[in-house]
Symmetry: C2
Subunit: 247 residues, 2 copies
DNA sequence: GCCGACGAGTTGTCAGACAACGTGGTAGCG
DNA sequence: CGCTACCACGTTGTCTGACAACTCGTCGGC
């Protein structure tokens, strides 16, 4: 697919890395656009486009006539607006991710999953069920479903610890974005046993539908997280800046 | 403060409205950049900058040499990445928002709130505590804290049903973004009484710190939502597109 | 019928210019 | 000495025009 990302995305990525690396601290002023353009030997248009990306991400803020500044923004532990897997979620806290009780099979999905995957009810789909651990402690139950013609159970066992996203990308099914729904819940008997906690323990459930840029759903997942194992955060923009809902 | 938003933001807003209004359906191709520029009598640069904003929001996707297309994206009931108040959250579901048990006073905040507001522990701050209703049903408990020099208790009772954000904006304290943390929980005795539910009922708690573009914290809030009253969703981008965490 | 080349249309990048705005310094005034 | 008004400079915002890179339908040759 798209071999090289566009120039502005490369530039944005460079700047983002420099900022996150601490080279540019919050409140610092970025070099001026003409200067950045000269240093990298690109046009000012491209630099501007790149900075616009970062601005929309909330990483920097522009001030007309003054300069562009790195915004004061806390390092978010687990930014929900980014689509990471559970493994990177765990390793980002410094713990070692692991897997227990992995089950990979062809199953008849729950109705809501069939609906999300746009397959007729009753159609068998590939399912991957795992209990995830952090430094050995059981912290989450995850279930992934995808259409059997996209990934077969054999494909899944082959990838092992690799990301499902990577496996899908190899099949030209690049996940563009996912829509997640969050609901609190209590552990039922089965979940309590798998997670090795008392029945009724607090869980945060994340149901998610991942789709390509064309709107084709490729992956549906349900994750039950132990409430005290993670803190989920999200940056919320606005309120005035954008978005009004209409009836 | 910034009287007029920059041209590209105006253009982006227009396009966004047209798309959300259904004038441009998912999958549709936008008019070409030169055409949009000509129709609105602005330069192509500004149109490009506007579309770049929408692209980063995930509303449209560009394809080099082909065109710009509206992405397939479901209408999200309550997009967490947007910073709306509880009132608009309720009214967006078609119900009528209301308030019960409103308390507005000067209090000594919990330590985490004092920390977030960057005031010495023990400093009295303005606090607004409300039980929110939807069509009369009690659905959420919200508590807002802000520094007393920003908004006094008298200011708050004056605004009545108006938004706190609006009151802050009038004081040149424009909220740029907020960072929210989500945790599941069970209703304690007090919460159960206020919400008129059984003790132990499932709640979703949202702790949020709103700051200006300069990183000045202006509003801290804690909201306890009845789990079955709302569904919170968030769009998650990636995974490949952006963001790699580094140690 | 199939395949390759072509061309119109679109986005991506470049270059240079001027306008709008903030900021700091400086000269003038009280 | 302190304060204010003004001005020059740097930075971002927008405009104009051009060309490169790419997509996709079409048309001609085989």
């Amino acid at each position: 697919m798209s071999g090289t990302p566009s120039l502005r995305h490369q530039l944005a990525r460079e700047l983002r890395t420099r900022i996150h690396a601490g080279e540019l601290a919050p409140g610092d002023k970025l070099p001026s656009e003409p200067e950045l353009a000269h240093v990298r030997s690109v046009s000012r248009s491209s630099v501007r486009a790149a900075i616009t990306l970062l601005e929309e991400e909330g990483v920097v803020a522009r001030r007309h006539g003054s300069g562009t500044y790195v915004t004061h923004r806390p390092a978010l532990p687990n930014d929900l607006s980014r689509n990471f897997g559970v493994s990177s979620l765990i390793s980002s806290t410094g713990l070692t991710p692991g897997t227990a009780e992995e089950t990979c099979e062809l199953v008849e999905p729950p109705p809501w999953v069939a609906l999300a995957l746009e397959v007729p009810a009753g159609t068998p789909v590939t399912s991957l069920r795992r209990v995830r651990t952090a430094d050995g402690r059981r912290v989450a139950i995850t279930t992934d479903w995808c259409r059997s013609e996209h990934l077969s159970p054999e494909d899944l066992v082959a990838i092992g610890d690799g990301s499902i996203y990577a496996a899908l990308s190899a099949r030209v099914l690049v996940v563009h974005h996912g829509v997640a729904t969050l609901t609190p819940g209590n552990a039922d008997a089965d979940a309590a046993r798998r997670l090795d906690v008392a029945r009724g323990a607090l869980l945060l459930t994340i149901d998610q539908i991942d789709t390509t840029a064309d709107g084709v759903p490729v992956l549906v997942s349900r994750e039950h997280h132990l409430a005290d194992a993670f803190a989920f955060t999200v940056v919320r923009h606005g309120p005035g800046a954008a978005t009004e809902v209409q009836p």
